[in-house]
């Protein structure tokens, strides 16, 4: 199934690792047994519904809850006055409230909450709450938010500017002076949203006797929810228990802490009974935290051979009403450009603006797909300017393995060049580019992504992932991890790694996951971090837990422990299974010897190399690399584009389970194409969402989804567990620019904004420029000058 692993000859002998096998959670998912948060029930369960703002930007004049309170079956009605709390998922981003305080900032913002004996009653009661607004002019665009106005979205003292980055590595202006050719382009990447099929759910239960709050939720980051919930309820963290249920899709949309989670916890505490909430699909569109719309300007100077000398990049992020993880997003729009290409002199200026729309946040690829679109299309146009092949121009500028980028990212393995070779060969690029019949074309793009964020989500020096293993006299192995299974396969990675170490099958490893009472800390399922970080912690714990078992067996068998292996549910001298012991007998010996067998494992990423504002965004233990070719057929009458096939080569370090990795690659290709072709979260001028439902918000259908050939490149990263790097986000990034590039090859039009819809294709065919003309003038602070790492480290010498 996995089409040709690159380094099969060097494959070490693994049993589970590298083998295609079903995920450990697949049976519960095909039988309906998987338990999502919305499936939970409790005796005396009350149901909550949120009253949401109908104004985009307004002062709250008054909230009349009397009619709601008078209803039979209503247990409590709460407004912002009853829960005056400010919170945020990141330390740099504490600007949100569970229920609006004084002011509302987007249509759909929670204003009040009702708890009732059933959901229907709660909904009717919420409808009877009367909210009066004193409206303000809403900001709904980047340009609008930049204009001087009396009343910004937040009163932070910088107008609507939420976050500004200004960095210069090397001497950009001087390098432009040396350039043989200079080019600049402007692009716009439209915002879109995750649409996880499961809408958000949470159930809170106040435990009277011990005065603890329990929260079961669809969250990718139970640890963040734990910390923020403790703050919001003013409880010590030990009084808070958070459990992440099976999650019906996240894609970054369930990374944040949300008002509805805090509200049900507060209501449960108030009522001393369990309270649940499940958002409607429409509410999920308002809850959002999805892809930021980003306006970008990129200017590059190259020498006569096409080597990049100077790069200048600006991004304007339309952040919506609140910070979410936008501080990180802002820096991510500038952090990865120098990871794919060597940029000896690089200036990055970014600005995130608050607008009166649902908050944007992390969506698969977090802050990187937008600049990827700009940089890749820009590179192809630079090549055209110079009369160079677009692949060749890129090759001359690729980063390599074992180097440090201009912005101090440390690359270990780098399979970019190999990815390109594989994808060009498989797609027949050389025969197709510029040579297919009119209307058909191929596009190309490359990318790179991080395998976990090197810095934690809050300042501390503790491990990012911790795993516990217990092995008892029954021979049962149980692994405890705080990582959340969001559909990406995290449970299976945990089981696979532990099974590999103990010589057993993944389905025989018992798992306890994503529960703050029962499992050690894991920072969560975001930033493509779980396989690498949780995987390393799991391997660490498993190897430590196996050791006393090997030693006890060594005593019994009178063989040195380092000559013993755990394989096939036995412990035996390597090469002589008959001479050994059954695994549970060896465990019993160990338990006789030392008591309960178990161990903990930890993973802390390496320290970042840079020390400048924003230097915490971008560092990762390892980076994945991707190259793609997209083939399209454009109907010049209708502007419709059929995607014929996608070839995606991805350097995953090592495919722990190739079937699962392919699933991540195919899913990334799908999501990238869907947002390149049709997904857009857009608003009317008054801040009203244009399409908060799945009929109007289009996603790619099975008929539109092309065949995908996944080419897995293995580079065996020394920092990954068994060499593995990420696969869940990286392959999304090159898809949108490759799609646009393919249309250019097919019909000779350049489209400088997403989504690339049939209407835009027709406009472009009609000779019109599709995309932004310019970026606004913005008042940036002076860039922080950062000396670049020396040439040798950068791979320039």
């Amino acid at each position: 199934m996995s089409k040709g692993l690159l380094r099969e000859q060097a494959e070490p002998a693994f049993d589970v690792i590298g083998e295609e096998h079903p995920r450990v959670d697949s049976w519960e998912k095909v039988t309906g047994e998987a338990e999502y948060a919305g499936d939970l029930d409790r005796s005396r369960l009350a149901h909550a519904v949120l009253k949401r703002s109908t104004a985009a930007h307004a002062y709250l004049e008054g909230i009349d809850t009397s009619a709601a309170e008078a209803m039979d079956g209503v247990l409590a009605v709460m407004t912002g006055e009853d829960f005056p709390v400010t919170f945020g998922s990141l330390p740099a981003g504490q600007d949100e409230h569970p229920l609006a305080q004084e002011k509302v900032r987007y249509v759909g913002e929670p204003v009040a909450a009702v708890a009732a004996v059933d959901e229907e009653t709660a909904r009717q009661a919420a409808d009877r709450i009367e909210v009066s607004y004193d409206p303000l002019e809403p900001y709904t665009s980047i340009e609008g938010a930049l204009e001087e106005a009396d009343e910004p979205v937040h009163d932070k003292g910088y107008g609507n500017s939420d976050r500004v980055a200004a960095l210069e590595f090397g001497d950009v202006d001087a390098a432009f002076e040396e350039a043989a050719h200079v080019r600049e382009d402007v692009f716009f990447y439209e915002g879109n949203t995750h649409v996880p099929l499961e809408t958000h759910s949470a159930l809170a239960q106040w435990e009277r006797g011990r005065e603890r709050i329990h929260l079961w939720a669809s969250t990718q980051c139970p640890h963040t929810v734990h910390r923020v919930l403790a703050d919001a309820l003013d409880l010590p963290e030990r009084k808070v228990h958070v459990h992440a249920n099976t999650i019906g899709g996240g894609f970054g949309g369930k990374v944040d802490v949300f008002p509805h989670q805090l509200v049900v916890a507060k209501l449960s505490q108030l009522l001393e009974r369990p309270v649940a909430i499940t958002l409607t699909r429409e509410e999920v569109f308002y809850t959002h935290r999805g892809r930021h719309p980003v306006l970008m300007w990129i200017k590059s100077g190259v020498d006569e051979d096409g080597r990049l000398l100077a790069t200048d990049f600006k991004s304007f992020l339309d952040g919506g009403a609140y910070a979410s993880l936008g501080a990180a997003t802002t820096y991510y729009t500038g952090a990865l450009q120098a990871l794919t290409y060597r940029l000896p002199n690089y200036r990055f200026r970014g600005m995130r603006l608050n607008t009166n729309k649902p908050p944007c946040g992390p969506k698969r690829g977090h802050g990187a797909p937008q600049p990827r679109y700009a940089q890749e299309l820009h590179m192809t146009r630079l090549a055209d300017d110079l009369g160079l092949d677009p692949v060749e121009l890129r090759r001359r500028n690729f980063t390599g393995p074992d180097e440090v980028t201009t912005n101090y990212l440390e690359i270990t393995t780098n399979g970019l060049a190999e990815c390109v070779e594989r994808v060009l060969e498989a797609s027949g690029w050389a025969e197709k580019r510029g040579s297919l019949p009119e209307g058909r074309g191929v596009g190309f793009a490359v990318s790179s992504f991080y395998s976990g964020a090197g810095e934690p989500t809050y300042w501390n020096d503790m491990p990012h992932s911790e795993v516990q293993i217990k092995v008892d006299r029954s021979g049962a192995i149980t692994a405890f991890s705080g990582a959340a299974e969001v559909g990406q396969g995290s449970d299976s990675i945990l089981a696979d790694i532990v099974a590999e170490v103990f010589g057993q099958r993944p389905e025989d490893i018992n798992l306890v996951v994503a529960d703050s009472d029962e499992t050690p800390v894991d920072l969560g399922s975001y930033a493509s971090r779980v396989t690498l970080m949780m995987g390393n912690a799991a391997r660490d714990a498993a190897e430590k837990a196996l050791q006393p078992i090997l030693e006890a067996a060594a005593d019994e068998l009178d063989v040195p422990s380092d000559e013993l292996v755990a394989e096939d549910y036995r412990v035996y001298p390597e090469g002589d299974p008959e001479a050994g012991l059954d695994f549970e007998d060896a465990v019993e010996l160990a338990e006789n010897e030392q008591g309960l067998v178990g161990a903990v494992g930890n993973y802390t990423p390496p320290e970042k190399l840079g020390d400048f504002p924003g230097s915490g965004v971008g560092p990762s233990p390892a980076y994945s690399f991707s190259a793609t070719v997209v083939e399209v057929d454009v109907d010049t009458e209708t502007g419709e584009v059929d995607v014929e096939q996608v070839w995606m080569a991805h350097d995953v370090g090592r495919a722990l389970n190739p079937m699962s990795v392919e699933g991540q690659v195919e899913g990334s290709v799908y999501m990238g194409l869907s947002e390149a072709m049709l997904e857009e979260q857009t608003f009317f001028d008054d801040g009203l969402h244009r399409k908060p439902n799945l009929l109007d918000y289009k996603t790619l259908t099975p008929q539109q989804m092309p065949d995908v050939e996944s080419l897995l490149v293995e580079t065996d990263d020394p920092r990954g567990p068994f060499g593995a790097k990420e696969a869940g986000q990286g392959p999304l990034l090159p898809i949108p620019p490759a799609f646009a590039d393919a249309i250019d090859d097919a019909v000779g039009v350049r489209i400088d904004e997403t989504p690339v819809t049939p209407r835009k294709v027709l406009q472009a065919l009609d000779g019109r420029h599709v995309g932004p003309e310019d970026v606004p003038d913005a008042d940036y602070p002076d860039a922080t000058h950062v000396e670049v790492p020396d040439d040798a480290k950068q791979g320039l010498r």
């Binding site: 699909r281 195919e666 899913g667 999501m671």
Partner: protein, 159 residues
């Protein structure tokens, strides 16, 4: 959900006769999930746009979020919990083996839609399979492995 206007409802669910009293406006999805506790059928859009709530009603794929429970009076409802007999349905086996379920939220609707489709399509090509599942959204897989699993089941690779 119970109110004074509740009326009697008799249905067969996964082969078992069930008699309930439900309000006239209750949807089949609400009854399946909340009254019968069969949470394998999922709620995702409430508007018939995503297919996650698909069940079989007298063998026909039906969006339970858009169907009043009383429309099912006297009928046989099959949910994912009732798919297959003593052994799992071959499609369940195929979805497991081919990696067709990631988050799993669309899976029950996909399985029921596909099970009905395969009843009268012995040898469908991929286009026909894609048409058959076009009312069922999936955000994880890109549909690739779902179509693989259905295709291989149709070819008899899973029994």
């Amino acid at each position: 959900m119970s109110t004074q206007s509740d009326t009697a409802l008799s249905i067969r669910v996964n082969g078992e006769a069930r008699s309930l009293r439900v309000p006239p406006h209750a949807t089949l999805l609400q009854v399946i999930r909340e009254e019968l506790g069969l949470t394998g059928t999922n709620h995702a859009c409430e508007l018939g746009e995503c297919g996650a709530c698909t069940v079989l009603l007298d063998g026909e794929p039906t969006l339970s979020c858009l169907t009043l429970a009383h429309e099912a009076e006297g009928k046989e409802v099959t949910t994912v919990e009732g798919l297959g007999d003593e052994d799992p349905h071959p499609l369940q086996e195929a979805f497991v083996e081919e990696g067709a379920a990631q988050c799993g939220y669309c899976t029950s609707g996909m399985l029921l839609t596909a099970a009905h489709f395969l009843e009268d399509h012995d040898d469908p090509d991929r286009d026909a399979i894609e048409d058959a599942i076009s009312g069922n959204l999936c955000r994880c897989t890109g549909y690739t492995k779902i179509v693989d699993a259905i295709e291989l089941t149709a070819r008899g690779e899973y029994e």
